[in-house]
């Protein structure tokens, strides 16, 4: 280690490490794009079967120019922005309420595990029969996808809250509300955030399925429609956008929220340090 490296502050170290990681990530993407583009003439298939990155970029520009992409992105984000918080709130409330009572938790656990195992795709046809095509069906699919991971992890967090702290607070005369807010909820926070991140990730899967079946707009519909009309480049644009949307949400919302809540209580370590 040279002298200048020794003199660098921990903050500067973290910054340079982040930059190095971002650079490596960018190089990985560039390498993938290069290999993909290079493989196109070797494969020698029609663009609708195996489009090149250039075709995908062209499809992206075309979709933007025709006004399709802004509407589809806005519709998908709108559905996601309503469905995920709703599912998360319901999951947290249900998880806390169920978790506070051992008998109810034990009685409902098998049923919850059973419902968790039924993927949202299986529910969508039923939702379509009940609520028709459109926003309600998509919203229900999203709420369903988010609800169970959040509920399950919240329930786990509530059930595993340190009993010694609960007892200590009770012996000091704390009310049920104080026990809940001072011990149980902070102790459940890692579980809640884990459930939220899992649910928010699953929600993209649910969104794609729901939009394929029950919508005429959205990124999921774009993926489906592109394949149906042999515009495979458009399908790939939709897939890439899905990934980018998830990365954006994770980077700018979920991770900072995780840092601001869970790590503030010192119950976990920062992901980068693991």
């Amino acid at each position: 280690m040279n002298e200048s490296a020794v003199l660098r502050s921990p903050h500067a170290w973290a910054l340079s490490r982040k930059r190095a990681r971002a650079l490596k990530g960018a190089l990985g993407v560039l390498l993938l794009l290069f290999l993909w583009q290079a493989s196109v003439p070797m494969v020698g298939l029609e663009p609708y079967f195996y489009p090149a990155p250039v075709d995908v970029a062209r499809a992206f520009v075309d979709l933007c120019a025709k006004g399709i992409l802004p509407v589809y992105i806005a519709d998908s984000i709108g559905r996601y922005a309503v469905g995920v918080p709703l599912g998360a709130v319901l999951g947290i409330v249900a998880g806390v309420l169920i978790g506070l009572n051992r008998t109810i938790a034990e009685a409902l656990s098998p049923l919850l595990r059973f419902l968790f195992a039924i993927v949202e795709v299986a529910w969508i046809p039923i939702f379509v029969i009940w609520f028709g095509y459109g926003f309600t069906t998509i919203l229900l699919a999203l709420v369903y996808v988010v609800f169970f991971p959040v509920l399950y992890n919240t329930l786990l967090g509530v059930r595993t809250a340190p009993q010694i702290l609960v007892n200590a607070l009770r012996s000091l005369g704390a009310s049920r509300w104080q026990v809940l807010t001072l011990v149980i909820l902070p102790a459940s926070l890692p579980g809640i955030i884990t459930g939220l991140r899992v649910g928010a990730g699953f929600a993209f899967r649910g969104l794609v399925f729901a939009e394929i079946i029950a919508a005429k707009t959205g990124i999921g519909y774009l993926i489906f429609e592109g394949a149906q009309t042999q515009q495979t480049a458009r399908t790939i644009v939709g897939m890439i956008l899905m990934g980018l949307m998830w990365l954006t949400i994770d980077q700018f919302y979920l991770r900072p929220i995780e840092r601001a809540t869970v790590q503030r209580w010192g119950l976990t370590v920062e992901a980068e340090q693991r």
């Binding site: 006004g67 707009t217 900072p256 601001a260």
Partner: protein, 103 residues
């Protein structure tokens, strides 16, 4: 810690606001040149797109009035309300709009 989501949301809001403002100005400019001017009641219009319309654009038009005919990049519409034609005019993929006597 929550500054990142807050700032990112603010940036998004600004971008969406600028986009909405630009759409509004663009729509007004397209309607200003209408001859005769924008009707108070439903009227007939020819909407010229910058390219031949796809299903997405035709669905959007159908939501706004009676879609009569498509000729290359021109979409002929009847019984379009002032609010609906204003909405269509705000779309940046619409080149121009003109009044149409109808059939």
């Amino acid at each position: 810690m929550l500054r990142v989501p807050l700032y990112f949301s603010l940036v998004l809001l600004v971008v969406v606001g600028v986009y909405a403002g630009a759409r509004e100005l663009d729509g007004r400019a397209k309607l200003r040149v209408l001859d005769p001017p924008l009707a108070q009641a439903s009227a007939h219009y020819v909407v010229h797109l910058k390219f031949p319309p796809e299903r997405f654009h035709l669905t959007r038009m159908q939501d706004s009035g009676r879609l009569i005919e498509v000729r290359n990049t021109a979409v002929y519409m009847m019984d379009v309300s002032p609010a609906a034609i204003s909405g269509i005019a705000r779309e940046y993929w619409v080149q121009s709009i003109e009044r149409w006597p109808g059939r």
